[in-house]
């Protein structure tokens, strides 16, 4: 459901959660990022961080400088003048990926689970252009959607203790790339050598919200 008016919810005394809907779709996600961009452009010292996600935006603020009521008023004013028709800057980023074998230890499982061959899974995974809905979980981990229904697969019941950096995984209808070695429960189908996160760069991530992503089998 899309809320007729976004819900503004306190998250402690120094953050405000703005919920637009309780279903994932591209128009809602556009609105989340448009609000984040508009607030960022205002460069207000009382706002210390912004965390966009699928359907919501978390605004972190300094309670010594601004109250919850003032933050709500600011968000309402910003929403009133928000232009979501203007297209956001968006790039198409290609991810060269080695599928299967040691690079994608779960490719066989994804194929079996969906009654497909491994090649068909690869063809489906490389067939669409994905949207970067948001970045979370790990520095530079982009939540990409949506994975074609025929290759959707549930995440592992017991996550792996170690997923190598660059691993490409699927969870439900999401796909993503682990920027660094970490524990993780997504089904791993391939691996890329691209660097997804570099803290010495600003911005530090290869992928930005709103970017388009295509996987290319190499």
């Amino acid at each position: 459901m899309i809320h007729p008016q976004p819900r503004l919810l306190p998250a402690g005394d120094s953050a405000l959660l703005i919920e637009f809907a309780d279903e994932i779709n591209d128009a809602i996600n556009d609105r989340v990022h448009a609000l984040a961009d508009a607030l960022r452009a205002q460069a207000r010292p009382e706002i210390c961080d912004l965390i966009p996600a699928y359907t919501s935006l978390l605004v972190c603020y300094t309670p010594q400088r601004v109250s919850f009521a003032e933050m709500c008023a600011l968000v309402h004013d910003t929403l009133a003048t928000l232009d979501t028709r203007a297209p956001r800057a968006s790039r198409l980023v290609e991810i060269p990926t080695r599928y299967g074998g040691a690079f994608g230890p779960d490719l066989a499982f994804v194929a079996q689970h969906n009654h497909l061959t491994e090649d068909e899974v690869i063809r489906w995974h490389t067939s669409v252009v994905y949207r970067v809905y948001f970045i979370g979980f790990l520095p530079g981990f982009a939540y990409l959607g949506s994975v074609p229904e025929p290759i959707a697969v549930p995440r592992m019941k017991t996550p792996r203790a170690r997923v190598p950096a660059g691993s490409v995984g699927i969870a439900g209808r999401q796909t993503g790339i682990y920027p660094m070695e970490s524990p993780g429960g997504w089904r791993l189908i391939g691996r890329t050598e691209l660097s997804l996160f570099d803290p010495q760069h600003d911005p530090p991530t290869l992928l930005q919200p709103g970017d388009r992503v295509r996987f290319v089998a190499v």
């Binding site: 998250a11 005394d13 965390i51 996600a53 803290p199």
Partner: protein, 287 residues
């Protein structure tokens, strides 16, 4: 420079945090008890958000030049060349001095500030160490024996004249103020009532990412999975097992468990200093 004789376990360099990069999935990190960090910096005439050593276990250091230092946070013994000195006080140490810090008990966080600050490069605007990301602080890692910690140039002319200044030790309490939500409507009324009436116990399962508490089960009122959203410091997340987890300095930027309530910023220091086995009582702020 400070030479690390005994690094202890998970001793890291932390400042007031790496704000502004959570949209890239970068946690804020920073001191678990920012108030204690600021007090230590104040005692040694540093800017309040300067980096200090965050100490969780016994450590030993040696100076090669004179320094002005101060230790704040959870209780510990400070020995300067074997002589006991108080916490929450600025101390002048000569070149060649051994500084030993021994926590009075397991758990909690202490801050050793040094006049001039810790001279490591800022990464994404902060000197804080983020261990899982392997960046910030000293080469993105915890301290090791033999490390030489670079100290910034002093701005005070007479370090010894600035010593002996003290402030009242902070008393850490069990009562933690919260604001309900943002996902209070994902819980039964009984769960909301239990959160503020029951006592919770801090468990061993506590690190810079989060503190797992044990107590009355907090039951979800809705069966469906929540859509992941951005999560604030102090969020009290409740996984399906009903045992709350409070998100701490190194917490992930987004999460998919409903947040029953969020600890107010002024009380995060008190919560951070709860050790395994300690009681935690939540009460609604202003209520």
């Amino acid at each position: 420079m400070l030479l690390v004789l005994d690094a202890g376990i998970l001793t890291t360099i932390q400042d007031a945090g790496r704000w502004g990069y959570q949209a890239y999935g970068v946690p804020v990190s920073g001191a678990m008890d920012v108030e204690a960090l600021r007090a230590a910096n104040q005692l040694v005439h540093n800017p309040p958000d300067e980096a200090a050593l965050e100490i969780h276990s016994p450590i030993a250091l040696q100076t090669d030049t004179p320094h002005l230092i101060a230790l704040t946070g959870a209780d510990a013994r400070v020995h300067i060349n074997g002589r006991a000195l108080p916490m929450w006080m600025s101390i002048f140490v000569r070149a060649g001095t051994t500084i030993e810090i021994t926590p009075a008990r397991t758990g909690g966080w202490r801050y050793l500030a040094i006049h001039g600050g810790i001279d490591v490069p800022r990464v994404l605007g902060s000197k804080s160490t983020f261990l899982r990301g392997k960046f910030g602080g000293l080469e993105g890692r915890a301290l090791c024996a033999g490390d030489q910690i670079p100290i910034g140039a002093p701005t005070l002319r007479d370090l010894s004249a600035a010593a002996g200044k003290s402030i009242a030790p902070r008393i850490y309490r069990a009562d933690i103020h919260i604001v309900l939500g943002p996902h209070a409507d994902w819980f039964t009324p009984e769960a909301i009532a239990a959160l503020t009436r029951a006592e919770y116990i801090a468990t061993e399962n506590a690190d810079r990412m989060g503190y797992r508490l044990r107590g009355t089960k907090l039951t979800h009122a809705r069966a469906e999975e929540m859509i992941s959203c951005g999560v604030p410091l102090g969020a009290i997340q409740v996984p399906p097992d009903g045992q709350p987890i409070v998100l701490m300095a190194d917490h992930q930027t987004t999460g998919g468990y409903p947040i029953i309530a969020t600890v107010v910023s002024d009380d995060m220091a008190h919560l951070a200093q709860r050790a395994p086995g300690d009681v935690v009582r939540f009460q609604v702020a202003g209520g």
